[in-house]
């Protein structure tokens, strides 16, 4: 019998996401999939399964859920208030969810996108061989109250693990590279762009993060409204006709005529996706050679996530819950911290 995850209540922007579609840009379909790819890697490491297993992406608010079969979940990305039958759940950790128990995931506390991963992964019907959602392209829609999401079989017994995750919603320096059109902006605009402190405009979504800076100059170069539409890539920072910068994200268009002043390094994109309201970022141009070394280190760090998972310190007052928890198996991590 197929196990089902029941959605009793859902926030306005809860979607099923995998790593997205690859190979459809020529047909006009950008990646889609999870906007915070690092959160997908973290969830996969915690549950010991493939990062392409689909999870729920929850923007700002989660919902109320239950499962028809015992399962293990991992919570990653932006930290949200969460409880299981009234008992608070830690973020960046795995938890056993007995069949029928009520899982409540409330408002986000910092960052934007929280993720709920499940042992076996969510298994909605494949669309173009993918299980993700691309709202802009009309590939699947947001999850609504009453939805029943099948999830895969799994023998995972990894409840009670946690992962130390560096804060990524607080802003700071974001590294960028030149695009095909960077030269069109000239040295002055490129310098001004890197000297401006930006925040996340609330009119941001899975297509793009709109950047706000009240006293910034107009970044639109002269005569840019007549350039030929050309190929757009995820991370490109597009300057629209009125001079507003948008960082193009998972659901970006695949071509566009607005010039791109620079492109955000792939491993820095999760920090833009999760930028909290009011948190400040500045952009810093680096060379392609530097970018390759930074990405190589980021890839190595992602490969180490599994080994970084370790048992959660149990609060003695929760001792009763230990009976409901399946303790760790097959974990190589060391002693509790502290």
């Amino acid at each position: 019998m197929t196990a089902t995850f029941l959605v009793h209540q859902a926030g306005p922007a809860v979607t099923v996401q995998d790593l997205g579609w690859h190979g459809y840009v020529a047909q006009g379909v950008s990646r889609g999939g999870a906007i915070d790819m690092l959160a997908m890697a973290e969830g996969a490491a915690l549950l010991g399964q493939s990062p392409n297993f689909a999870a729920l992406e929850m923007a700002g608010f989660g919902g109320v859920f239950s499962a028809t079969r015992n399962c293990v979940i991992a919570l990653t990305g932006a930290e949200m208030r969460a409880d299981l039958d009234g008992r608070a759940l830690a973020w960046n950790a795995t938890h056993a969810v007995p069949a029928g128990a009520k899982l409540k995931i409330g408002p986000v506390m910092r960052g934007i996108y929280g993720y709920l991963h499940i042992s076996g992964g969510f298994e909605p019907p494949l669309i173009l061989q993918g299980r993700g959602t691309h709202l802009a392209a009309g590939l699947r829609a947001a999850i609504r109250e009453g939805a029943e999401l099948p999830f895969g079989a799994s023998s995972a017994t990894r409840a009670g693990l946690s992962l130390d995750v560096a804060e990524r919603s607080a802003g700071g320096f974001i590294r960028i590279l030149p695009t095909l059109q960077s030269d069109m902006f000239g040295a002055d605009l490129l310098a001004a762009f890197q000297n401006t402190i930006f925040t996340r405009d609330p009119r941001s979504n899975r297509m793009g993060v709109r950047l706000a800076a009240p006293d910034a100059p107009n970044f639109a170069p002269e005569a840019a409204r007549n350039i030929l539409s050309d190929i757009v890539m995820e991370g490109d920072i597009q300057i629209t006709g009125d001079g507003t910068p948008y960082v193009l994200m998972a659901e970006s268009q695949t071509t566009g005529g607005y010039p791109r002043i620079a492109q955000v390094l792939p491993c820095d994109l999760p920090r833009l996706a999760q930028l909290s309201s009011g948190a400040e970022v500045m952009f810093q141009m680096i060379s392609h050679g530097e970018a390759v070394e930074i990405e190589r280190a980021a890839q190595a760090a992602r490969a180490q996530l599994g080994a970084m998972c370790k048992p959660v310190l149990r609060d003695p007052r929760e001792a009763g819950d230990l009976l409901a928890m399946q303790l760790i198996s097959g974990v190589t991590a060391g002693e509790d911290e502290g």
Binding site: T179, L228, D230, I231, G241, G256, Y258, E295
Partner: protein, 250 residues
């Protein structure tokens, strides 16, 4: 056509863009030969199966290779592309085989094209003249992009060379016809745009539930057939493929 004359100076060129993109550009202006060169060169690069290349796509005058710089160096890939560019005169390439033309009913102006009047004024023609100009010849799908199966159609007569608007139109509906810079875009999904909304079709260019989800590919053609608001509403808006008819091109 004299292919050498069609090759713009300084092109083709190979440029790095961002972290994982190498772009081969055949021009920076609309150019029939550069568009055909892009399609033919992309097909060649896909067939070559270069190591480290993740995805190949085309725009109006360019080919993008998305590659993994941790698997192949940009210098090595650039050298492979430079060698492929010298294999032949890409600007003399013919269009892809197996192209199709769709005759598509379209309603211009009025409620279905709220910015048609503004576009006609920018193109210095009456509305009747504009409809005649846009429907006189089939329009070529010069590239697919922006949204699923969404075509850039052209090339329109020189008087249609007006820029995009500085402010975004917050949303045009699926099937909308929008114009700027001697091109028409036919929207496959509701979308914001900086182009002028001149008309409407009933087309669903992309439907993942269909056997062939993507209706168009670069090189195909669309022949717009003007219809009244009444005809559009009764026989196009809800009809399969918006009442469009498909024919194979010789």
């Amino acid at each position: 056509m004299n292919a050498q004359a069609a090759k713009p100076p300084k092109f083709p060129e190979i440029c790095q863009t961002g972290y994982a993109g190498l772009v081969v550009r055949f021009g920076d202006q609309l150019n029939e030969a550069g568009n055909r060169a892009s399609l033919a060169f992309a097909a060649e690069v896909i067939a070559a199966g270069l190591a480290g290349v993740l995805e190949v796509s085309t725009a109006l005058q360019s080919v993008l290779l998305r590659y993994d710089p941790l698997l192949v160096s940009p210098e090595a890939l650039r050298a492979d592309l430079a060698a492929a560019l010298t294999q032949r005169d890409w600007y003399a390439a013919s269009l892809p085989q197996g192209r199709t033309v769709w005759e598509v009913p379209a309603c211009f102006g009025g409620a279905y094209g709220p910015e048609f009047e503004q576009a006609c004024s920018l193109a210095s023609v009456s509305q009747a003249e504009a409809v005649a100009e846009l429907c006189a010849n089939p329009l070529r799908v010069q590239a697919i992009g922006f949204a699923p199966s969404q075509p850039y159609l052209g090339e329109l007569p020189p008087n249609w060379d007006f820029p995009r608007q500085a402010t975004l139109n917050p949303q045009v509906p699926k099937g909308a016809l929008v114009a700027a810079i001697r091109q028409i875009v036919l929207f496959s999904v509701p979308s914001p745009t900086g182009w002028l909304h001149i008309g409407q079709t009933g087309l669903s260019l992309f439907d993942p539930a269909r056997d062939h989800p993507f209706m168009l590919r670069a090189g195909d053609e669309i022949a717009l057939r003007p219809v009244s608001e009444a005809e559009f509403e009764t026989s196009c808006a809800a009809a399969p493929y918006g009442g469009a008819v498909r024919r194979a091109l010789p």
